[in-house]
């Protein structure tokens, strides 16, 4: 139960962070930091799901809360990479210049994640662990699909 609350709160805080970051014009370095925090939230949500799926009895509430977090964040990725927030931003970032050189391809890669997290959210809502298990690898694959081309080492 408390895990559900934490997951819900995490999702809320995450959404609030994004709202705050887009409401005021942030410096490129601030945008980098916000972006990294958002991706970390997604990482946390993803790990929470993965951890549950490795348990003999997965906690569906944790999975649903985390699925919500992922589905909320994924469509926002498009707005997290304004021009000038690459390596030239002056903050440590793994964002490669190719993001802006091949921006359409980057957008497609982000859309893969939007689709995968939507499908996963549907699976989580169904409550069928087999279905949840089947839908999860596509989320990780979408992360990797984008990271391979567009993310370097920090």
């Amino acid at each position: 139960m408390s895990k559900t609350l934490i997951a819900a709160a995490t999702a809320l805080v995450g959404a609030a962070t994004v709202a705050a970051a887009t409401a005021w014009a942030a410096t490129p370095a601030e945008t980098v930091v916000t972006r990294q925090n958002n991706f970390k939230q997604m990482g946390r949500a993803s790990k929470a799901i993965s951890d549950e799926l490795r348990k003999p009895a997965a906690d569906l509430a944790v999975i649903r809360g985390s699925a919500q977090t992922l589905a909320n964040f994924a469509p926002q990725i498009h707005h997290w990479f304004p021009r000038g927030t690459g390596p030239e931003a002056g903050a440590r970032t793994g964002a490669l210049p190719v993001i802006w050189q091949r921006n359409a391809q980057f957008g497609n890669a982000a859309n893969q994640l939007v689709n995968a997290t939507r499908n996963f959210q549907r699976a989580a809502a169904s409550g069928n662990v087999g279905q949840i298990r089947a839908a999860f690898p596509a989320v990780g694959a979408a992360c990797k699909g984008c990271h391979e081309t567009f993310k370097g080492d920090k």
């Binding site: 990482g43 946390r44 790990k47 490795r54 990780g140 694959a141 992360c143 990797k144």
Partner: protein, 244 residues
Amino acid sequence: MAEPGTDAMNGASADSGAPVKLWDLPIRLVHWSFVVLLPALWWTAEKGNLDTHIKLGMVMLILIVFRILWGLFGSSTARFAGFVRGPVAVGRYLRGLFGREGEPIVGHNPLGALSVVALLLLLGLQVVLGLFASDTDGLYYGPLNALIGYDAAETATHLHHLGFNLILAVVGIHILAIVFYLTVKRDNLVGPMITGRKRYAAPVAAPRIVSLWRAALCLVLAWGVAGWVWSGAPGLAMLLPTPA
């Protein structure tokens, strides 16, 4: 010459010039497995072949647990109690290194002992970090990754990356030392690590080489430990703080 860790069980001192059985088969197998495994682990990590990387890491875990057990129950030249010495002994050995020939040492010298301990510790630490690590996308993870939270796992992964550089540095020192002994001291250390035998100019007490059955027992034990870890170390979760 009565060295601690040597034993009169194999009987006579070796004749001058006759080869002495110095390293038993398990020591040599473990050593050369490290030589093969380490580049393989680096390569699989570099290429993103993490499935294989994790499996090889488990082999590394078995070898390290085995080597620790062998350092307690193995042949006299394998035992930590037989070769790990204090700073005074290391200092004395260092001073003698460039001077006249001291008494022949059968097994690891006090300085080499430090290198053995450092490498074993680093490799062990690296494997343990790997057990908790995962890739950025959460597609591949060590068998104990679920026991800790996201941030701790991220730190473990980061240290796992850094750890390799440290291992490289110590391996570099290890190889430089071998070259030093070969060229300056005219002492070939690689040959005995392959054949297990070494010739000494003066008669020395032969090390006590124990039965391979003992090695088989240690291997089964090490395999068991790795199996327990592979299944997520049931029972260990209670000892760790709850994931954040």
